[in-house]
Amino acid sequence: MSLIDITFYILALTTFFAGVAVIAIPNPVYSALCLAITMIGVAGLFFTLEAYFIAGVQLIVYAGAVVIMFVMVLMLFDLKHEKKAFSKGLFSMILKIGSSAVVLASIFSAIYLTISAKPRLEEVNTDAIVAAKGLALQLFTKNVFAFEVIGILLLVVLVGAIALAKGKGGTHA
């Protein structure tokens, strides 16, 4: 086992257990911290794959954003109230649990499809992953439509979040 393998196993185990802890730990503050560790672990995994640019972006965007969640947890959440609000009313409870089930099913099907898929190593363009220039060329020429659509989607989410936060919904307002 080489040094890079040992690094991979340490990072992978840390990421895995931190990821499990995010949903297993009842205290939301620890949960947010574990999420941060998961994100940093994923960034470390990208580093071991020599995808430095993606690793850096992972750190800036994801690990940085968990801070916001941490503050949200500290300032806005009342967990007991949140649980009560979640299971209040039979119809809305069924709706909420049903939508959670849909999300869970899509996550599991995604995992299943990734496991059963065969890797096609010869088609991977390493330049597009490793170097920032290759990645930028891929993003802004070949996949520019998807890139712009995701941008618009994020804008919609942003506007929606502000609209929700301004009105009185749930325990967040």
């Binding site: 430095y52 640019f53 690793a55 992972q58 800036i60 940085g64 941490f70 503050v71 920032a132």
Partner: protein
């Protein structure tokens, strides 16, 4: 780390030395801060212990180490103790990615009956082709230390300080990231060494097919990106929580903010983190806008030739080492000047009000950074189309 024993051991020693360099600079900066503030406020400052009060640092260190190890009753013990370390790690990790001087080329030599080398040792902790992305990414983790410290202390003042810290650092991170986009576009690279390499010689640029030369100015980034430099400097102040942006610890309002409950060596570790961020910010400013380790109008080759011509450092290895040291001193000079600017501003400007801080970050800094980016992009496009 290296391919053989010599390379691995020298790289390990180098990493340790660079880390210790950062840690060792902290007491001196504390001294500069105290004497500098006294100088600005027409006081004496600590001047009793040793020459110029320099041994005050030792006395302080001893005091910090021997203080009682205290954990408040309401604190979450593990996180309370972990927070100072979490504040120090990002600063130390980012510092290792900064190129401190020209690489040292070691010619092959004989040792223990074996021939080694030749080697090239970079004058930095480790090499990475996307230096600046890494530094921004790891630097953004610094806020966790502050946030966890504030939350785990079990004190409302600490918590308020921590929440202020997180809001402030996230707001100004955007302006910080955007302010350097202009300079990155001009030089077209994320690699800090390449950035420094393109700032040699005298000021020259080509615009709409014509070459312009300004002989009396060095080819520094600050002449191409004055607005970017200003925005970067202001956001660097906010990122390292220094006055006029030290709202997280505003002692007039929050006792001492996020480190209210910390004493002794634990508080010193927070200090190390803050000064570490200052050092990284100063070094980055020097690299982006002041030519990094280069000396204006002096090329690396000419310095190396000078050392090769002397008798004492005549061999190529020694000449390369001495060249690296000379250019390291050049970077140190710039960094020390910028650190003095940090101290100078701290004792000159009053603290912002919190809402003013936020509106400055979002309504002034961010739009100007965007304008800077777009105007730079238009200039680059125009000069490419016409040239």
């Amino acid at each position: 780390m290296g391919s053989d024993l010599v390379e691995v051991s020298i790289n390990t020693i180098k990493m340790l030395a660079i880390f210790l360099m950062m840690i060792q600079a902290v007491p001196m900066l504390v001294w500069v801060e105290r004497r500098g503030s006294a100088f600005i406020q027409r006081r004496f400052g600590p001047n009793r212990v040793g020459p110029l009060g320099l041994f005050q640092l030792l006395a302080d260190a001893v005091k910090f180490i021997f203080k009682e190890n205290f954990v408040p009753k309401n604190a979450v013990k593990f996180l309370y103790l972990a927070a100072p370390v979490l504040a120090l790690i990002p600063a130390a990790l980012t510092f290792t990615a900064i190129p401190l001087s020209t690489p040292v080329e070691v010619a092959s030599f004989e040792l223990f009956g074996q021939s080694w080398g030749p080697y090239v040792f970079q004058f930095r902790g480790f090499e990475m082709n996307i230096g600046i992305i890494y530094i921004l990414g790891v630097g953004s983790l610094g806020v966790y230390g502050l946030l966890i410290a504030g939350w785990a202390s079990g004190n409302k003042y600490s918590l308020l300080g921590a929440i202020r810290a997180s809001a402030q650092m996230i707001s100004y991170e955007l302006a910080l990231g955007l302010s350097i986009v202009g300079i990155l576009m001009i030089y077209g690279t994320f690699d800090l060494v390449e950035l420094i390499g393109s700032q040699t010689g005298h000021l020259q640029f080509s615009f709409s097919g014509k070459e312009y030369h300004v002989g009396f100015l060095p080819n520094w980034g600050i002449f191409f990106q004055p607005l970017g430099a200003l925005l970067f400097l202001v956001s660097a102040f906010a990122e390292s929580n220094r006055l006029p942006f030290d709202l997280p610890e505003a002692e007039a309002e929050l006792v001492a903010g996020f480190h209210t409950e910390y004493g002794g060596f634990k508080m010193l570790v927070f200090f190390m983190g803050e000064y570490g961020h200052m050092m990284v910010a100063s070094a980055l400013f020097a690299i982006f806008y002041l030519g990094g380790y280069h000396i204006p109008f002096v090329s690396v080759d000419s310095v190396k030739e000078f050392f090769l011509s002397t008798e004492m450092f005549g061999t190529s290895t020694l000449a390369s080492l001495m060249t690296a040291l000379v250019f390291h001193l050049s970077l140190l000079f710039k960094v020390i000047f910028l650190l003095w600017v940090f101290v100078w501003v701290r004792w000159t400007l009053p603290r912002f009000k919190y809402d003013r801080l936020m509106s400055l970050g979002w309504k002034t800094m961010l739009p100007w950074a965007l304008v800077n980016t777009i105007v730079t992009a238009l200039f680059i496009y125009y000069s490419k189309v016409s040239g």
